[in-house]
């Protein structure tokens, strides 16, 4: 049962990811990206990572993509004229990054999918992976966790400063 479900989700993931890149309408592309995130969440669920699957939907599909959609919908992208130079730079970057990705995946394939260090101890049955993730996150990976939260705080403060700055000298903020 699980292998068939995995095939289904994986096929959907690849198909929707391709549609994100290939579709002309940016809003439709964004919606396909939402579908791609949802199929990825399905794959997480099949790997018994329920917590990760749900957080994937909440954070990516529910929060980040809504903001993406906002930007795409309300900034009119139809009249975005691009010069030849921009297109050339973008194409070049695309080819370069694509080649890099192909190279890395090729190396990985020849090495037989060794994915680096794997957590040695699996969470106890019945404990649930939310508890397991919490324990590891607040002990072994506490420092990266705190660094990430400081990064987010900096981004938030930056966004507020930019939003306040538009008011000019008479506004309450600088």
């Amino acid at each position: 049962m699980v292998p068939y479900l995995f095939l289904g989700f994986a096929a959907m993931l690849v198909a929707t990811a391709l549609m994100v890149v290939l579709h002309k309408n940016p809003v439709t592309s964004a919606l396909f990206l939402v579908l791609a995130f949802c199929s990825l969440a399905g794959i997480y669920l099949l790997m018994h990572a329920e917590f990760l699957g749900m957080v994937q939907i909440i954070v990516y599909a529910g929060a980040i993509m809504v903001l993406f959609l906002f930007v795409i919908m309300y900034l009119n992208l139809k009249h975005d004229i691009e010069t030849g130079v921009q297109t050339a730079v973008r194409r070049g970057l695309g080819w370069g990054l694509g080649a890099l990705l192909l190279l890395t995946s090729g190396t990985l394939l020849t090495r037989g999918w060794s994915m680096g260090p794997v957590l040695a101890e699996l969470p106890a049955q019945g404990e649930g992976n939310a508890a397991a993730i919490g324990k590891v996150l607040y002990s072994r990976y506490l420092f990266p966790f705190e660094i990430t939260s400081i990064l987010l705080l900096v981004a938030m403060v930056g966004a507020i400063v930019i939003a306040k700055g538009r008011k000019g000298p008479e506004g309450e903020g600088a």
């Binding site: 329920e50 909440i58 529910g62 959609l69 906002f70």
Partner: protein
Amino acid sequence: MAELWGNAVFQVAFWAILKVGIILFVMLTVVSYLILAERKVCGHIQARTGPNRVGPFGLLQPLADVGKLLFKEEFIPADANKVIFHIAPMLAVFPAIVTLSIIPFGPPPMFQVTDIQVGVLLFLAMSSLGVYAITLGGWASNNKYALLGGLRSSAQMISYELAMGLSIIPVILEASSMSLNHIVDAQAGPLQLYGLTVPFLPNWMLFKPHLMLPFVIFTITMFAETNRAPFDLPEAEGELVAGFHIEYSSMKWALFFLGEYMNMLVISSIAITLYLGGWRGFGPEKFGIIWYTLKLAAFIFFFMWVRWTYPRLRYDQLMNLGWKILLPAAVVNVLIAGIVVYWRAHA
């Protein structure tokens, strides 16, 4: 056939599909009568009787309504994005139906489709997907009023989702589980308050002092998440005509309403499960579904009562309430609940 029946996977799938079918059928019927109930409640609050012509006490009114909607002409605006215009109403119903699969309607495993360890997160995930229906519906209609309605709705739902998620965390801490079944089990028996047992009161989360404010916050955000008055700014017929569903007609319009009422049922069920002891009540466990139905009916009546009693908030009031009052209050409550739970475990 017997061989197939012996297969464990087949049995699980069979019972799950049967339960899903029953729940869907019951919920769709309930929704059609909720609309009648809404009109009746509205009528009596405004000192009139409400619909009473079709059948005894107007009980056949839902049939008449659905018949009218089915035969209405379906209209699609010329410059609408056709595919998204069709998908948006379906998206309004889908998250609510998915969430129904984890709600314990009575003692498990009989009255629940499935119990997952991250039940609360599934609910939050689905309610965060609910934004798409209204945003896309408003955008695809290619109408200024619809677009404004969709824009307002997404801003509103994103703002209130945060406070809602934070108001659930104290409950998760108290029950030390995200499974809805465990949360219901943690509310069994008489009230336990900081080591004391209070007789005559059930051990519901609502009665614990450090969980009272989260309940109030959850109840307020509940109205915002379902886009019901006093938070029905996406529709705001006075200024936006009908908001995001202005261009929708016939069954597509009905799907938006189905979604709204389904969402009401689901979110009330979650509130009952998290704070009001779920299906637990006095008497034997098999009466669970009766207690559940009573609590749900009370909650739905509360929804309608508020809708026909309070005026709509202004947009800046809505944002102030969400970001400057509910969110900080919820954050403080997470801290308080954390301290209480830690103190109890280590004292």
